[in-house]
């Protein structure tokens, strides 16, 4: 059976690469100092979608991201691996969206696609780190969610069977499509890009990207070749503005501090028998041990 799958993927700063240089003096993060990458667990989400497509010919995978035009890169990266369609949801009025507003906007965009069988997310984005967008999209779409997906056990017609992790253990669950899945990084090993697809789709761009590069006139030619990335704004997806952006976001950031280790100064202990004996003595004296 052929399925319609949407993979939600986020472009994120590579927070593993944070160094002193990436921090501003006021404790905020200087995102431009960090490389922008495909959110790691979203690659696992994409891989799961691709495996379903491998087993179910005719399945169509739509890559969708909400972000700045630069986020088109994750859409292209999806096509290099075997996705079929690219949609960038972008709008200045979506800035400062918290997870509630983000999932509202993404769910409006998914609804616009018509019948969708599965919406597949990563478990968590490595910048916001909340793992809330998947479940909230499911609620907005009014369909069930299966979080912490570890393995797809079976997919037959409209019935999906999943092994999910629950921290200290796992469970096997089953439900009817449509469903939202959030996928763990241990679920699979994402495939590398396919060279031929990459040659083709690295030429794909959105209208805003073209405009920025002063190449707006190329849009029609790209469109004819299926290489124009679709750009949807809040009007296209018929989003109600009161639920978007800052106004639609109940959570506000009050303060941000960078993590500076409390360098309280430590006592140097010589690695000699005497030095270690003295330390043990001190720890017994203050009742830490003994």
């Amino acid at each position: 059976m052929a399925y319609n799958i949407v993979v939600l993927a986020k472009q994120v700063p590579d927070t593993k690469a944070v160094t002193g240089k990436a921090m501003n003096d006021d404790g905020t993060v200087n995102r431009s100092a960090l490389p922008a990458i495909f959110n790691p667990e979203d690659l696992n989400a994409l891989e799961l979608a691709l495996q379903i497509k491998d087993d179910n010919p005719g399945t169509k995978i739509t890559m969708m991201t909400m972000g700045l035009p630069s986020a088109c890169e994750v859409l292209r990266q999806g096509m290099y691996r075997g996705a079929d369609r690219m949609i960038l949801v972008t709008d200045r009025r979506a800035a400062a969206s918290d997870t509630l507003a983000t999932s509202y906007i993404l769910s409006c965009a998914v609804k616009k696609l018509g019948k969708v069988d599965m919406v597949i997310c990563g478990r968590q984005a490595i910048d916001g780190d909340t793992a809330q967008v998947g479940p909230q999209c499911a609620e907005k779409l009014d369909i069930p969610q299966i979080t912490y997906v570890q393995e797809l056990l079976d997919l037959k017609d409209q019935t999906i069977t999943i092994k999910r992790s629950v921290g200290a253990g796992w469970e096997k669950v089953q439900c009817q499509l449509p469903v939202v899945l959030t996928v763990l990084d241990t679920a699979n090993i994402p495939r590398p890009v396919a060279a031929r697809k990459m040659m083709k789709f690295k030429k794909a761009h959105s209208a805003m990207e073209l405009a920025k590069a002063d190449k707006a006139d190329l849009a029609d030619a790209l469109k004819a070749k299926g290489l124009l990335i679709e750009e949807w704004n809040l009007d296209h997806i018929e989003a109600d503005l009161q639920w978007c952006g800052r106004d639609g976001s109940p959570t506000k950031v009050n303060r941000i501090q960078s993590v500076v280790l409390a360098a309280s100064g430590h006592k140097k202990i010589e690695p000699t028998e005497q030095g270690l004996r003295d330390m043990i003595h001190e720890l017994i004296e203050d009742h830490t041990i003994g």
Binding site: V29, P135, E139, V166, K252, V259, A262, H266, K267
Partner: protein, 349 residues
């Protein structure tokens, strides 16, 4: 499925502080109790009641337990269809109770269940949710633009950006103020056998479409070790070099009557099981003594141990960041240091 719209909750200063009493097969685990501990402080500061929401099938035995750990009021929902946690059915229970009683704060554990449930509830109630908090405080907030003062807001403090920043999040217009709270970071309150709570029985009808998921099989593994309850922890890192080298870690832990633990690098290298991992993606611990051996001190590791009362670091690199959070620093090769340390302990004992 027909979508039920719930009324949005406005700022409600009389609202109670709620804790979701997560249970699995009739037992509570530590997380709800930790939440009650912090919930107590918040409720006292606000001058309101601390309540727990308990839902399940034959869970009445847990009422006394929740009272003993500080709940003054317990909203108790019994239903055979709530025997197993399911996202949609439990969301319905919480949304109905929130709409009816309008709490000002609702806390969940940042567990597999809490992180599955709380976002779905927040989305239905159209309120905010702060993920994975490590601290919660009550404080006033002045809106920088309008200078409007919002008094006594819940300050929801959480690491983000891979642990590199700490953000303080608030929500001042759409309530309740909801947060998931990381396991193990809030100290357990003391048990008071004599405490009694008011029990409010509630009924919520669960229809077949609320049980959209069929649970075919469930498997819970008992944790191999209870790091959170250990007074003394000896943790080894990648610097220990091998599984054989980790024997030194076990030996030192045994000599001190403590338990071994590890950094993620040591777990990834297969020196020890994941249950022993300390840090952002492992367990958060606050023992009396934490000895870090061959651990460099990455933020994601120290996030899980920096509240230890005393930290001893053993590392051959004098510039290792772990010394920044240590009370005692020993620069040296652990294979030389640990045997001497064990000898010193035996002599004293």
């Amino acid at each position: 499925m027909k979508k039920r719209k719930y009324k949005m909750i406005e700022v409600n200063r009389q609202g109670e502080v709620w804790v979701f009493a997560e249970q699995y097969e009739g037992s509570l685990g530590e997380v709800p109790l930790e939440l009650l501990g912090r919930g107590r402080l918040l409720a006292d500061k606000l001058g309101v009641k601390l309540s727990a929401v308990l839902a399940g099938n034959k869970v009445d035995t847990l009422v006394d337990e929740l009272a003993a750990f500080g709940a003054e009021k317990i909203y108790h929902v019994e239903n055979t269809d709530l025997a197993h946690y399911q996202t949609i059915s439990y969301t319905k229970v919480l949304c109905q109770l929130i709409e009816k009683h309008k709490p000002q704060i609702v806390l969940f554990g940042a567990t597999a269940i809490g992180r599955d449930l709380a976002p779905r509830i927040a989305s239905k109630m159209r309120c905010g949710l702060t993920a994975d908090c490590t601290d919660l405080q009550i404080e006033d907030f002045t809106e920088p633009r309008t200078k409007e003062v919002h008094s006594n807001l819940l300050q929801q403090i959480r690491p983000a950006f891979g642990g590199n920043i700490i953000a303080t999040i608030i929500n001042y217009d759409r309530w309740p103020q909801m947060a998931t709270v990381r396991e193990g970071v809030m100290p357990m309150p003391e048990r008071n056998e004599n405490a009694k709570a008011e029990v409010v029985k509630e009924t919520v009808s669960i229809s077949p479409e609320d049980l959209a998921i069929k649970i075919l099989e469930q498997h819970r593994e008992a944790k191999k070790v209870n790091l959170k309850a250990s007074r003394i922890i000896v943790a080894g890192g990648a610097g220990v070099g091998s599984k054989e080298g980790f024997k030194h870690i076990w030996d030192l832990a045994n000599a001190l009557g403590g338990v071994p633990a590890a950094s993620r690098a040591a777990v990834d290298l297969g020196f020890i099981d994941h249950d022993y991992q300390v840090g952002q993606t492992g367990t958060t611990v606050r023992p009396a003594l934490y000895i870090a051996v061959g651990i460099s001190g990455a933020i994601q590791h120290t996030a899980g141990m920096s509240d230890s009362a005393k930290v001893v670091a053993i590392n051959c690199d004098p510039d290792a960041p772990i010394f920044g959070v240590a009370n005692f620093g020993i620069v040296g090769d652990y294979t030389q240091v640990i045997p001497k340390l064990i000898k010193a302990i035996r002599e004293k004992a």
